[in-house]
């Protein structure tokens, strides 16, 4: 005899039940809560780093020194870089990973939920260290986000706080990577082979391996600066027989993979959005996986293209020039596949697709200027000019950030159960697109004309383009407040979203889960065919 029992909806076994209030977020082990915290944290850091960028652009609005003194200007460029890279963009994609990976592979949560909580809660103290370093004697670190010695060996205690912050942020990244690797490898639903995983999951698996390989290098590098500063070592101090150029090799051995640690998850988001709004499967899935892995591998053999001007044998220059140019091949495969996915597709242009196409167009420009900078004789002319600043902002902002916006608009119906305001979303895209190009496209001209980066004052002939750039930067910054409004409006009063908010979306979270996704999903794995 069998007995059927229906549990009371609010009883002990009710899986919709979860703690509320502050305790929910302090102690949560739920991947969705943690994903939400990552995303809000990264947005707060984005605004913080953004305000620092606006201080920089306010000073550069006109030649001469009007707003801040040169030392504070250098503190702003340093913290802006560190906060945007480690506090804003990286945690944003970890937020996407937390929300999406378990739902996309049919897993109930991440493999190590408590570790996941800890990975997140390491971030706020690190951010606090970075921001409060502004108020210690001597101010914050002012050597640029690359932290080159001997300058960093000589700075005040703000540098120590920055080193400690980088250690904590690195620890968070490593723990997050371990969680992502173990989740993706071990917790896929029955039937979901590796080559059936959504491309977003593949890009995160590869990124997690990149993080594991690159992060100890950064940790070691900043530790050596710390011991040079306080414990009498001379790793980088020439006075004691050290070599400051060794730091550059170590830093960029980490730093170039770091670019792809940011870019590859962005590729993953774009690879979900473009097929959904083209109503076609992703063109060349297998080649996308191999291209992503190739980019990750190549990223470890190109580091010295950041340091052609330090002096190196011509054979080494040639090697790094060719190796860097080689990255264009797998990147070209990806761009081709995204365009081929759209080819003859039934396209529609909702906000996620607009940001994805904006990404495709602007990231490709950033890729091409990267190729220009890969060429040794040209790079020697353009090194440390605004051309480089323009190049990496096309990769980091129009690349990674636009992809993050595409991802938020794409998945927010699943996260909140509500639709965002499409008109305002499109306004956000067009304002961001126009002001971004206004801020950064002109910087190519400034760099080609010889304006050096990281200076608070400049020669008169650079005035006009700097004014245009500053107006663009302020416009871009204000447009992000519109983004905040769109998200808050969506959460508070958006229209009810259907389970499958986008006709062309076909991953498990859209086909198997309601909107909003329940607090606990896929407690038993679905069968994937």
């Amino acid at each position: 005899m069998s007995t059927a029992v229906h549990d009371h909806p609010h009883g002990h076994d009710d899986h919709a039940h979860h703690p509320s209030g502050l305790a929910r977020y302090l102690t949560t082990t739920n991947h969705k809560d943690i994903g939400t915290m990552y995303l809000w944290f990264s947005f707060a850091m984005f605004l913080t780093g953004g305000v620092m960028a606006l201080v920089i652009r306010a000073e550069l609005f006109q030649p001469g020194l009007q707003v801040v003194n040169p030392d504070f200007f250098n503190q702003m460029t340093t913290l802006h870089g560190l906060i945007m890279v480690f506090g804003a963009i990286m945690p944003a994609f970890v937020g996407f990973a937390n929300w999406q990976i378990p739902m996309m592979i049919g897993a109930p949560d991440m493999a190590f939920p408590r570790l996941n909580n800890w990975s997140f809660w390491l971030l706020p103290p690190a951010a606090l260290l970075l921001v409060t370093s502004l108020f210690v004697p001597g101010g914050a670190a002012a050597a640029g986000w690359t932290l080159y010695p001997p300058l960093t060996v000589q700075m005040g205690m703000g540098m120590d706080l920055a080193i400690f912050a980088v250690h904590i942020l690195g620890m968070s990244s490593i723990l997050g990577s371990i969680n992502i690797i173990t989740t993706l490898l071990n917790m896929r639903a029955p039937g979901m082979t590796l080559m059936k995983m959504p491309l977003f999951c593949w890009t995160w698996l590869i990124t997690a391996y990149l993080l594991l390989a690159a992060m100890p290098v950064l940790a070691g590098a900043v530790t050596m600066i710390l011991t040079d500063r306080h414990f009498g070592t001379h790793f980088f101090n020439p006075a004691g027989g050290g070599d400051p150029v060794l730091f550059q090799h170590i830093f960029w051995f980490f730093g170039h993979p770091e670019v792809y640690i940011i870019a590859i998850p962005a590729f993953g988001v774009i690879s979900q959005v473009i097929p959904a709004f083209s109503r076609k499967p992703l063109f060349g899935y297998t080649s996308m996986v191999y291209a992503t892995a190739s980019i990750a591998i190549l990223s470890f053999i190109v580091w010295a293209h950041h340091m052609y001007t330090t002096g190196m044998p011509v054979q080494a220059q040639l090697f790094f020039m060719y190796a860097t140019s080689l990255i264009a091949v797998p990147t070209g495969v990806k761009v081709f596949n995204w365009v081929a996915t759209m080819w003859k597709g039934s396209l529609s242009f909702e906000t996620p697709m607009l940001f994805a196409i904006g990404f495709l167009f602007l990231f490709t420009i950033g890729g091409f200027t990267g190729l220009v900078l890969a060429i040794v004789p040209i790079d020697i002319q353009l090194h440390d000019t605004y051309y480089v600043v323009a190049h990496f902002h096309y990769v980091m902002v129009a690349g990674a950030l636009f992809a993050a916006f595409a991802g938020v608009y794409f998945w927010i119906p699943k996260w909140t159960g509500r639709m965002y305001d499409e008109t305002l979303g499109k306004w956000h895209f067009w304002l961001s697109f126009i002001f971004f190009n206004m801020a950064f496209f002109v910087q190519h001209f400034l760099g080609l004309a010889g304006m050096p980066r990281r200076i608070p004052d400049y020669a008169l002939q650079f005035a006009d383009f700097n004014m245009v750039s500053s107006i663009g930067a302020f416009g871009f910054g204000l447009a992000q407040l519109l983004f905040l409004y769109v998200v808050v409006k969506c959460i508070r009063s958006g229209e009810q979203a259907p389970a499958k908010a986008w006709e062309g979306a076909d991953t498990l979270e859209w086909t198997h889960l309601p909107s909003p996704a329940p607090y606990h999903s896929f407690e038993t794995p679905p069968m994937v065919k």
């Binding site: 005899m1 069998s2 007995t3 059927a4 029992v5 229906h6 549990d7 909806p9 009883g11 076994d13 009710d14 899986h15 919709a16 493999a111 190590f112 570790l115 490593i174 723990l175 371990i178 969680n179 690797i181 173990t182 490898l185 071990n186 917790m187 896929r188 639903a189 029955p190 979901m192 391996y209 594991l212 390989a213 992060m215 100890p216 290098v217 940790a219 070691g220 590098a221 530790t223 050596m224 011991t227 790793f235 060794l246 170590i250 051995f253 470890f300 329940p518 606990h520 407690e523 038993t524 794995p525 679905p526 069968m527």
Partner: protein, 156 residues
């Protein structure tokens, strides 16, 4: 789910294991890849004097090893139900230990609980109860409940 109803001297036997998408060997290959890359990078830098990278790489790989080891142990969890003669045996092997349940098959009830978002089954006899099928999907669990119900009533 492994259904071994034709096993020797057993009317019914079933083993259910946790879903784990990577085999033991694949798991260690994945670890070896990370260890090889991180280890080689750290050793290369140590060879040119930048040895402080080495302990960080070591710590990271130790953490990754612990994580993989834990996953491996969890993957060994299983549940087994055996009906032999007029006896029913249930065993749940998990990291925290083994739980055993034994009863007379004719006095055992199959309880199906339809909770929010999940169906659970348990075997109950003389006031004690054990949940079974936690590693199975909802569909497989219901299938198993029906199968058990039929088997419990069949004369051996």
């Amino acid at each position: 789910m492994h259904d071994g109803s034709a096993a020797d001297n057993q009317d019914f036997s079933l083993i259910a294991r946790r879903n784990c998408s990577l085999q033991h060997s694949g798991r260690w290959r994945a670890f070896a890849l990370a260890a090889l890359v991180s280890g080689l990078i750290a050793l290369a830098f140590a060879s040119i004097g930048a040895w402080p990278i080495l302990p960080f790489a070591g710590l990271e790989l130790a953490a990754l090893y612990v994580a993989f080891r834990r996953i491996s142990r969890d993957a060994e969890d299983y549940e087994q139900v055996i009906i032999r003669g007029d006896r029913l045996f249930v065993e749940r092997h998990t990291r925290s230990g083994v739980r055993r349940f034994e009863s007379n098959r004719y006095w055992t009830q199959v309880v199906v609980r339809n909770g929010a978002g999940r169906r659970r089954i348990a075997l109950r006899s003389h006031g004690s109860e054990i949940e079974f099928g936690t590693f199975l999907s909802d569909g497989d669990r219901l299938d198993l409940a029906r199968k058990l119900e039929n088997r419990l009533r069949v004369q051996s």
